[in-house]
């Protein structure tokens, strides 16, 4: 009897705490209802390690979207200098291949982050894109790599810009366009949406009265 009372208290406190945290998250206006989060890996072994290559991340549009590139791995390569930044404040100043890169098109239509690197076997990263949809022209995330000679890795990109992949933010679940067999895009481990967590906590909280009824003497008899 004492043990079950303690369990109910713990459960109730946990639910309230989680609910408060997730309520804060849900009220954050910069947060989309759903992000697209993918792991992207580019086989960079053909670039060689004798010179500096350069990767360009672009985010264009007017949808106030954010592209967050994290968990960056150069596959044994090393990051070089930040070379090109075109933005009106739409990127995090601390962006770097060595840590995290963040682009945001709230204030600027064109946002470009470029940094040189000595290629290893691969360039992989976790891309988290918000999905504010703008019509008729959606925002777009794209990236491409220049080899040590300054030439882009040739892809089948129909624009001729040799993007390795693009993602048009034209729906809450946009599909990436991959233009090279060197590129692998896989969904990241699903992170529940804050709203989903809220429902879960509320559901758990709803079970509390049931535990309380069962714990009363004579209840259910």
């Amino acid at each position: 009897m004492k043990e079950s009372t303690m369990n109910r208290k713990v459960l109730l406190r946990t639910a309230i705490a989680l609910g408060a945290v997730l309520l804060v998250l849900d009220l954050n206006p910069g947060r989309a209802l759903a992000d697209v989060i993918v792991n992207i890996s580019v086989n960079t072994s053909s670039l060689g390690s004798s010179g500096s290559s350069e990767v360009f991340f672009n985010l264009t549009g007017t949808g106030a979207n954010t592209a967050t590139i994290s968990a960056i791995s150069l596959g044994g390569g090393t990051a070089g200098a930040v070379d090109t930044v075109i933005s009106a404040g739409g990127f995090a100043p601390s962006s770097n291949l060595g840590s995290t890169i963040s682009l945001n098109d709230t204030t600027a239509f064109l946002n470009v982050f470029a940094q040189s690197f000595t290629a290893g076997t691969s360039l992989s990263f976790l891309l988290d894109l918000t999905t504010n949809v703008v019509t008729p022209t959606p925002d777009q995330f794209s990236f491409y790599i220049l080899d040590p000679t300054g030439s882009p890795i040739v892809t089948s990109d129909p624009t001729g810009f040799d993007n390795l992949a693009t993602i048009n933010l034209d729906s809450p679940s946009p599909a990436p366009n991959v233009y090279s067999s060197l590129v692998t895009v896989t969904p990241a481990a699903v992170t529940p949406e804050p709203g989903t967590l809220t429902l879960l906590v509320l559901g758990l909280a709803g079970t509390v009265p049931m535990f309380r009824r069962r714990s009363r003497p004579g209840a259910g008899r």
Binding site: N58, L110, Q140, T166
Partner: protein
Amino acid sequence: MTWPKRLIFLAVCFTLALLLWQSRGAAQIAGPPVNFGFTVDRGQGISRGNAIAVDSKNVYFAYYYLGDLISGRPGEVMYEAFPLVFGCANVPCAFVPPIPTTVDVIGPTPTAPGPNASLFAYTIGIGLDPQHVPHIVYQDGQGGLKHAEFCPCADNLNIGWQRETIPIPGGIYSAMAVDKSGAVHVVSSTGGAISYSKKINGVWSSPEAIIGPASLAGLSLAVDSSGNPHVLWADHRSTFNELVLAHRGTGPFFWNSGNFEIVSSDWAEWISLALDANDSPSVSYWGGPCSSTTSELIYVPRQGGFWPPQAVDSFDFPSCFTNPPPYIYHNTSLAFSPGGFPRVSYGYDHHFAGGVEAGGIALASQDGFFWHKQALDNDPIGALNSTSLAVDAADISHVLFVITNCQPGTFCSDFLYYERISNANTPVGGPVTVNLGDPAGLTSPITVTFTQVSQNGLTSVSMADPSAGPALPANFQLGNPPVYYDVSTTTMYTPPVTVCFPYGNVSNPAGMAVFHNEQGVMVNRTVSNNTVTHTICAQVNSLSLFAVLQGQTLPVCAPDVSNSVSVTRSGYSYSAIFKRYAQVVTLTNTSASPISGPIYLTLDNLSGTASLYNAAGKTGCAAPTGSPYVTVAGPLAAGAHVTAVLQFTDPTNTAISYTPRVLAGAGQP
């Protein structure tokens, strides 16, 4: 009635009939002469100066023929005369132009094709004394100046041309005149210095220096009713240009600067001086200020001690030049009508915007207020257009002129033409049709038909610069030739007037139309169009600017199929290499029918700083025009889609926006 009485009656009747017949014939001969002309001479030797004179009996010519290898002719001074009036009215019936005769041989036959250009023979003059004896003053080909008169005459009983050397040296410029007493006055230049001499009572006076060496560019002489000479010259120097008129004083220095007056500070060439019946001088010349980009034919009379210029015609070449191209050699010749109105024959070369090389000879006649210009002949290559003018007592202008009159690239010789133009070519009556020729050089004439003319006058036509006229009406463009015509008349008439114009080859003769400038608006007044003879007529109530225009073939525009096509746009990729944006656009045929190609994806309202880098063009047919477009492969089956890649530049890197429009099928975007 007895037989003697019958005979007397018959004799009287016969006599009366004869008198009536004669008077009819006399009236016919005295009738208004008509416009006509003929070729006086032709060949490679036709070049340089010519002169014409007219009196109550005859027309007289003098000109240089510089020799011709083909015909074997040497360098000659030629002469021709023929009666002023003909044996029948209105038609020069049975008239055969006389063969020119040689006054003097001034050089050998050239040994190579072309005229003997080395002969020193440039300017020539002819005048008539009171006995109608022609006097010719000419350069003898070797630097000397000669006088020839046809005798027996007052100072020579020999028969034929009597020639003598004039005691002043002959330069490029010389001029002569004969006064009422028969004295021959001559001026000539040597090294830019002008000298004067006069032959009176068979003796040449001692040469008198008028001015010292100058940069001379023309010389003209006229003698007033008192026998006093007036000399006009153009002086071009590095520091000034002057057109100066001088008259001979009473001495002891006959030609002192107190008798000089500056007519103009223009750069002037091809100057001509004439005195009216009141001995008041007037001047014509080609030229203008050095700051001008065009040359003007200027007429300037002396009025109240001033010289107010009047622009008669112009052409688009600067007047102030140091190395004149050949087509600048268009001289002027000035004379007065019996009523005191100026007439100018002149060479011209209008380089109109339409590209027509409309050079030739024209006659400008002033009616007291306006100048009426009419082309006498067209010279397609705008070659040397030397001319001289005389006006008779009936106000008929007699014009002698040299013209090439052959198409560029063809081999042909020069011509010396004579043409007479009545300045009252539109008689009283009705209907009255006036043949104006065609200043544009087409084979058919321009005709003006008046319903009724109550006072005779001059009807004329000249070409006008299209850029100076009203704007072209919508859906019409300049025809062939691409010119405007300025038709004018001094007659009093009752409208309407029918004006007919010829036109050249055009793609759609049926689409031709005559537009008339009515209060600044070009109005279509076409009443007939003969697409076989290429003659088109308009009926108007007044005369002014006309244009024979051809209707533009309206293009077929590609249909707008935007309602049958959905347009899906990608976001914009950006290449830092190309500094360009790219967008993939997918067009999907949402209709149940195929859409034929080509398909044009058009971008209307493209945001201001953006440009479509890979545009195939801009819409020029389907409104709104001016929108860039790309061409997309077609056709597009029902339900099918096709993609197009758009590339943009935008130096401001701001948001790119546009409104898509899809055109497809036959027609222009």
